[in-house]
Symmetry: C2
DNA sequence: TATTAGCACTCACACATATCGAGTGCTAAT
DNA sequence: ATTAGCACTCGATATGTGTGAGTGCTAATA
């Protein structure tokens, strides 16, 4: 069957209405709501068609219609197309400049949560792709070394390395020079076994201990530093009855607390390179099965120097996509401008 | 009125039963439950007395009785007294040795949550009271310094200091020596304005920039580094109907997400020095008003070197105090032994 | 005097029943 | 092609009715 212009309008009206009320929408409502000047009976016929086509469904026999995932998808795609032209300057409270990146990201999550009334998450950038800027070993206590690793974007990682044998200051100095001359400027992915054996050789393997330390530093560099994810407004899910029955709420809360589950989403978003910056997952499209009753809108922020991360907004399928996308765009713009100074 | 031995037994029976079932307890139940061999009528009389004394209450006229906060308090105090003697060796899965403190604490929270079926929180130690062990400044990039501050217990803090003017390596070396000779071994609280001006003088105020850097380091040291709090098992609150209506659940979830609210609890617990290690807050006794419908059991862990933190377990007022206390004690013991190696 | 049997009473809760109204699909008229 | 009209469906809401666990009180009992 063909999706006529009229059907499109009716579908859109149904969705708009449902987004607002959360109640199934009846034919009479649409008959008045739109400027089509059609009777409810006609609408009913069209609705029957739309149902057959899979864009809407009836929760039970004598109820109105609600949008199906496919219906939402159609709607969202159309909206995104609109938005591309639009350079909407939404008034959103400004993010404060924060000295620390993590405060900034936490604040971002909070701002979006209060603004949109949905649950939000923001991932911190990981230094995997970043270039090493600086490495420093220092003695702390008799049998421990502190390794400080700084990557571009001033992402810092500390690691305490236990050592078996005392190392004198001179050797530490040598090691520092060795490490920095070889590794600076490389991205973490580029540091492989070859590099490491090469360094060991150059250190002159006069003592095992030096080799051990080099290994330890390499390990520290590669160590999966667990992706930080900040969440906010989890409690917002209680504002939407369709998400807040005990079963569902419990699952969602758990997902938000066990942040590593959200990692999937973050990776998924970052992986998709060719996107315009904003992605929408509706219901089952979500990479996180616990969120199959939700919609998720994500965006990738880029603060330069390889500092990329993900912002996500999670709400009911009938979320106000329009508002969410606007908010995300505005926040991205703000993040961008904060970085540029 | 006097709290006779018999009344005490009846009260205890009521509480025990209510802890299990969560339902108001009737006189007939108690008549059989205990070995007192009293008829339900007698029990009823005693119950009327207990109610007058404020230890139990009736949710509505024709219902059984439930314990009041005062009743719980009596019960818990008696139990704690018991426990003091008891060296209970509960079988609780072992914590793994983790290289990183934060993983260990996260794991602790999780273990306790799955074991007890309540929500848990664990605070990381703060370095306020700890002695400085080591400070290091390094240049990263043209106009930025990296300050690494290590305190006893290997608590590490990084701070990027922006500087106006280039500093040469020689001066950085001098600064490092100056900072370390003066500050090492002091606790953060001991570093005051006097110290700082003293250092500035000794540095010879030949250049403003040195003074600025010293100030920045001092600021970095004192900077409130926000108390990390790890939570787990928040979803457990849904297992207790008295906590999981939307209103209450939403509040609790928010409290657990906005971790700084939990800070109050942590401070409260740490402040109380003279305790045996475990504290119980029942209902309104809680320092967090959002948790007035809950009970909270807290303990202070001490990994030595001033690394103290708080563990908390939050559940309904009818929580299994016995089990919770046992679990906490066992976990403390395990933490202790992990540290000692 | 302390305990208990007995009885009238209360009240939440479960269940059945009736009513209402928003919504539908279908048919026949326009 | 559109629409008025009508019978029908079904969730939601209100209403009535029993049921049972529980109570307090009184009078009998040990």
């Amino acid at each position: 069957m063909e999706l006529s212009e009229r059907k499109r309008k009716i579908l859109q009206a149904i969705i708009r209405n449902y987004l607002e009320t959360g109640e199934p929408v009846g034919s009479r409502t649409i008959s008045k709501y739109t400027d089509l000047n059609l009777s409810s009976a006609t609408i009913r016929n069209e609705m029957a068609d739309l149902e057959e086509m899979g864009y809407i469904l009836q929760p039970h026999t004598s109820a109105g219609r609600i949008p199906s995932d496919a219906g939402y998808r159609l709607y969202v795609d159309a909206m995104m197309l609109e938005k591309q032209k639009e350079v909407d300057d939404l008034k959103v409270e400004l993010l404060d400049k924060e000295e620390k990146l993590d405060s900034l990201l936490k604040q971002t999550a909070k701002l979006l949560a209060t603004n949109t009334n949905y649950a939000t998450l923001v991932s911190s950038p990981t230094l995997h792709r970043n270039k090493l800027k600086f490495i420093q070993l220092s003695k702390v206590g008799g049998n421990q070394l502190l390794a400080v690793i700084v990557a571009e974007g001033n992402l810092i990682k500390n690691s305490i390395l236990p050592i078996d044998e005392e190392i004198d200051d001179e050797n530490i100095l040598k090691l520092n020079i060795l490490l920095n001359t070889h590794l600076n400027g490389l991205s973490i992915e580029e540091i492989n076994l070859g590099m490491i054996t090469m360094m060991k050789q150059q250190a002159g393997i006069h003592s095992d201990i030096i080799g051990d330390v080099i290994d330890a530093v390499a390990a520290a560099i590669h160590e999966e530093d667990d992706l930080e994810i900040y969440t906010s407004g989890t409690n917002n899910i209680f504002k939407y009855p369709e998400l807040s029955d005990n079963q569902r709420a419990s699952e969602l809360i758990t997902t938000f607390e066990e942040k590593q589950l959200l990692g999937k989403l973050v990776q998924d978003t970052l992986a998709d390179e060719n996107n315009t910056g904003i992605q929408v997952y509706i219901g089952n499209e979500s990479p996180i099965s616990e969120m199959n009753d939700c919609s998720i809108v994500t965006a990738t922020y880029d603060l330069g120097d390889g500092m990329k991360g993900t912002i996500g907004i999670v709400g009911p399928k009938r979320m106000d996509y329009d508002k969410v996308v606007d908010n995300l765009k505005t926040v991205m713009k703000q993040l961008d401008s904060i970085y540029k100074q």
